[in-house]
Symmetry: C5
Subunit: 247 residues, 5 copies
């Protein structure tokens, strides 16, 4: 019987993608628009303080294409905090002009493969990866994925060692991109419609394509990967929003 | 010929997921909002009395992510009661501000596997499981599922004993989570688009992921499970709604 | 070469599922609401007269779950009559408050298997099944279905005799539910997106689940059945609508 | 290597399905409604003149079911003319009350199989089939389709002669329906999401079902056909629209 | 282990498909409409200057069918420029009357197969293909595609040489259409939901169908191609928009 690999779970994570309702935004008064932007600014400031206190992390991004215009990503020690945070955001003035586009609920996940020879509960580096500060790199790429369970290629029927071998090889491809691409894997089995979420950061947009293209030839991807939608964008500060929304 | 296993059916069940229409809610007057909340409060109170009288059960939850904001779950001895209840809710003031997001129609189901050596019609424990009081645990997870019917893995072509063996093994994984996760299985063959609904309760959110992840390696899941959407959230009292909706 | 089995086609059938737009209904004046209900009452009365004259049949149902609130089902000798009927209904006041949810266009179909030893064109019982009066039983279940055409299980590549054997066995399961469930099969090849529609009636809701669950183990279902959406509800009279819609 | 069969392409074709927005139509003034109907009448008259001049063809149909209420079908020597025609229609008053439901862009296609022993460029009958006058028969059926490309049944991997044999056999089934069903095949590879569109005409609605049911057992359909949505309806004159839309 | 082929990436590309909201357009004042058209005219003029300066390229197209009415396609050296450009367009007056229909985010991609014997970084022809001026040909066809990864046909499990052989053969089919069809391949792995986008140009619309039909029999397409939606249309100048939108 294939055996589950132990996973270690860190902070909970909410990816919240929104589209701007430009028509409604234009119909709003200058006062309403100012209020919306100021309020968001304060909200972001609070989230950044939480990040400074190592009680969570926050990222804000402008996305390209019609699928989404903005992404707000938050990490917190509990799911309850994320639910409250989402509700609070939905009550803001800015949210009146944003249309929900996609969301993803997950938790930072590291597998036992990565903890070799370390005590996961105390090792500082391992702990830092479980409770990460989101990278301040220029570009972001997000996609959810599953492992296949079809009659021929069924990840959950492969032996643990074979899965380990395939993941190790996959990791080797990733390692070539050290310094170019950083990744955060979040697990969503039981939480959302896909099994994992992959959030990548890069200084150069083209590195996302190069990495994912090369990885697609890894046996573990070629045989077992099912991908959801891909979203890409650029990191922005709370101040940048004023310009993005300026009419 | 594979033979159907006898099932025992208890109370009918309606999962009713809704999204809040925040823009409409903000446009409403304070008076309208108060009316909406008070009316819901009374409705919930009536449902709770029904639960106290063991004539049904009710759960109210706040969900995370864009798929749904609220879940109202009701169990009743007849489907007609649920239909009336749904219609009554749709007529409330609060429903004017809620957008249908997903619903699931099913009936509490226990299989003959679980009734070994008991008389299902009189055994008190078995009867209590058929007509359950929804657990008052902190967190909820719901997903619908099917058994595969493809050319290689076809649940409905497997012999009864083999199906029993696979389910027994699956139950063993579940048993490891006793005290951590409680589950209510509802059958929806002929009632809704999926064959079963799984409603889980936990004190710790992470236990949903741990259980479902581990179960994914059970042969019965790896070979035969097709999953629908996953929804997670937190149990709330009727009083909590005031705060959730407070502007 | 597998050969098509002769089918006998009776009355044309339109299943018309609608959701109530409760917000619009509440905004309407009492006068408008009365007009809507009275007009529907007259329309139904006309349809019931047609049924009395054996020139068609009509059923009206309240559905459960978010997929649909009401189902209007009509049978007529020609498709043109159904098209006119649908257009007439769309022009009514009530239709202003109903949102199309799903529809199914088909024709009552009996296969040659069922006509053994009878002259289908004159046998009264066979004719009555081709031009049925919809049962006045308490509950309804509707779902569309296809026969699989994949590389391994391809219904349309099976020999006629083998198909007959499988259907006979399937019929035996159905026969166990005589008096509990009645079914009307309508064919929709060339008319709608699925090949057949199954409309079931029962006195007890649970019988739908028991029948369909048991049938799922029949070889013909296990190997060849693809199911669409399932809709269930309760038969209502035209007078019941007043209460369903009462605010 | 399987080789493509030469195809001959005739007039370009736009199937334009619309739903009536009855609520908006009722809110319009009698004057607006008259304007909408008169303008459509003139547009249709122009299209009919084009048909008389053999510079195109036009068909107007009332559809049954919730998928569409009307179908406007036009053929023209160039795609540009169809694009202009679609834009012109979108600017009409009537279009304000019609909701786009589905469209299909294609070109009348005959295969070399059908040109045996004829010079396709000069043969009058072949030319007439490439530039057809749409039949004035009572009923219409439209559906798009693909040829399968799966691991076992891959149309585009079959040898040309085998494809020819299968198509010939398929044609034999069709020939049985001479005088009962007429078909126009339009190719949409590179133009729309499906490879072909099938437009059928009949005097009796039931013949669509009989033909397509019987064809489903042809090897070429059983093994290689993937079907899209089915739409059926009735031919109407421009004058009929007044009655269809009358309140 | 199959090995990834090196790819060369040129300008980033945004395909932005929109539908016209004719009802809103008609409700606008003549002044608003003039403003919308003038502003778009200036925007296009700026984009054309960028093209003249070889700092990007732009194409504007009128599409046929209900899927989209307009396509704006821009190429730029960086993704950031495209994001800014999209945001700027969303703020224009014209955008108030356009409904997002589909978008595709990618980058011009050439594979090492095409660079045989050239230095990709300096060869002028190769560089011109990486940073192309969009052809001013009359017609456009766009579709996204994937390479299959199923149990039998898995592109990412094929050896590099075999993939090269299949692509070479595929290129031979394309070469027959030299002068008739021009293509721009853009890669979207990691950027959008499909792996590649294919943008074709032709003087005659029928050539799209002939090319894609013939290619469908190429082994690489027959065994490994999965296609998304197809969009076709006609190149228009910025002045043409006035006529397209004229009421």
């Amino acid at each position: 019987m294939p055996e589950a690999v132990e996973t270690f779970d860190g902070w909970y994570c909410l990816h919240d993608f929104r589209k701007v309702d430009w028509n409604a935004w234009k119909l709003a008064s200058q006062e309403e628009r100012d209020q919306a932007l100021n309020e968001f600014n304060e909200l972001m400031q609070g989230w950044e303080e939480i990040e400074s206190n190592r009680e969570g992390s926050v990222g804000f991004y402008q996305m390209i294409g019609q699928k989404a215009d903005l992404l707000i990503m938050n990490l917190r020690p509990t799911m309850d905090e994320l639910t409250d945070l989402e509700t609070a955001f939905n009550k803001t003035k800015l949210a009146e002009f944003l249309i929900p586009a996609y969301s993803f609920v997950s938790v930072v996940e590291l597998s036992a493969y990565m903890a070799k020879g370390k005590d996961p509960d105390t090792d500082p580096e391992f702990q830092a990866r479980l409770k990460p500060v989101l990278p301040k790199w220029e570009h972001i790429c997000f996609y959810p994925m599953d492992r296949k369970k079809d009659a021929v290629n069924n990840w959950f029927m492969e032996e643990k060692d074979e899965r380990g071998r395939l993941m190790y090889e996959h990791g080797m491809t990733g390692r070539k991109y050290a310094g170019k691409v950083r990744q955060i894997i979040t697990g969503s089995i039981g939480f959302d419609d896909w099994e994992w979420g992959v959030t990548l950061y890069a200084h150069e947009m083209i590195q996302f394509k190069k990495l994912i293209y090369e990885m697609r030839f890894d046996e573990v991807s070629a045989r077992f990967a099912d991908f959801g939608e891909f979203f890409i964008g650029h990191r922005k500060t709370k101040e940048d929003l004023n310009q993005i929304m300026a009419l």
